[in-house]
Symmetry: C2
Subunit: 230 residues, 2 copies
């Protein structure tokens, strides 16, 4: 069980704080707005009214005994920067910082922060990439080189086995899961369609119309496959 401090309880900070607590970690939440503290009580280990630029208060709260500090004050670059300087002075960390704009991110990079989060940009890119094609239901950059995508099965794949397709050999793309629809009967005797996932696809598995393929591969391979099947 790890111990984290979350400074700033806006939408990002409060999400991180409560989720970490639900995951079983110890979470101390800080904010200088009493209302934010009231709202989060009971959903974290401890919630304390505190100004993040108050060195002594941070020290008293044991900020350098944490396994990590999440700095979730995006809107005020000055406060965010001053807080980082104080945290670094105490050797507190690692620091996970949320930023609100490109300048803010650049400043955090220059301060040596490695874990930077810019939600609007990250989710904006994810949406744009998932719209690469009508057939793309989902798209992630796993890291700088690898991407994962979920696509509806193109007509030319239907009735082929994974071995026929030979995506790994031909395109260096792995089919890591196949989602398919299954007809079920409810307890009420109703016929319904439910989605199931085959997360261990085998070479002899056959692809059916309406299936969804989950693919992993190098980004440019994934993107070129997507453009080809559209």
């Amino acid at each position: 069980m790890a111990k984290y401090a979350v400074i700033g309880l806006g939408r990002f900070g409060s999400t991180v704080a409560t989720r970490l607590y639900e995951n079983g970690d110890e979470v101390i939440a800080f904010d200088n707005n009493p209302k934010a503290i009231d709202e989060i009580k009971g959903r974290v280990s401890n919630a304390v009214i505190l100004d993040s630029t108050d060195e002594r208060a941070l020290k008293e709260q044991g900020i350098n005994e944490m396994d990590g500090v999440i700095l979730a004050i995006g809107n005020n670059i000055e406060v965010s920067v001053l807080t980082v300087v104080i945290l670094k002075k105490f050797g507190a960390g690692p620091i996970y910082a949320k930023v609100d704009n490109k300048l803010h991110r650049r400043i955090m990079e220059l301060l040596g922060i490695k874990n930077i989060y810019f939600p609007e940009e990250q989710i904006g890119e994810q949406l744009a990439n998932s719209l690469l094609s009508k057939n793309v239901l989902n798209y992630f950059d796993l890291n700088q080189k690898l991407s994962i995508t979920e696509i509806t099965v193109p007509p030319e794949y239907v009735s082929k086995t994974l071995q026929d397709l030979a995506l790994p050999t031909k395109r260096k793309i792995n089919i890591i899961a196949i989602k398919y629809q299954k007809l079920k009967v409810t307890d009420a005797g109703e016929n319904i369609i439910e989605w199931e996932t085959n997360d261990m696809p085998g070479a002899n598995d056959v692809i059916h119309e309406g299936d969804v393929l989950v693919l992993l591969g190098q980004k440019h391979e994934i993107v070129s496959l997507i453009k080809e099947i559209s």
Copy 2:
């Protein structure tokens, strides 16, 4: 090549608009702030000053001839809702809506919007989950059931082959990639360490100390594995 309208050019909207354009799609960007329009000119197909609650202006711009409409006005629930009502009246869509808080999301759900984005919450959860353990470098929910995680290799895995570990059989978890460090010599004759990715791991591949494993599996299996190796 698809045609998209992006309404609202804040950080989320401008990211989506410019990224879609870079991806090769036709993008018409709308905002009622002339400054936002100036800033994005040249990075989208067309940028037009427009109030999203102006039915006639939207119609004149051909809003119902789009392959999709991205509604990126989070801060003003009233404007956002009114715009959705107008878009639905024209049969424009599908609609991808950004929301700024839980109430806004609930309203969008009630209006029948299926593609809802709440960046602070989504990235907040992703960060919290990636902190499940010091050994977790990354964590995604691929969908409601499947998760992907990158973990540092636990000591008990070192020198074993993938076949030895038998993660798929024992835990229904797939090792979909292995990242490892490789010693290289630069043109300047320097020894440096670079990360490489084996994205087609084979049964006889051996795991080395310092490797990073990329795993895919059912969420509860992934989470229990993470808790075990911590």
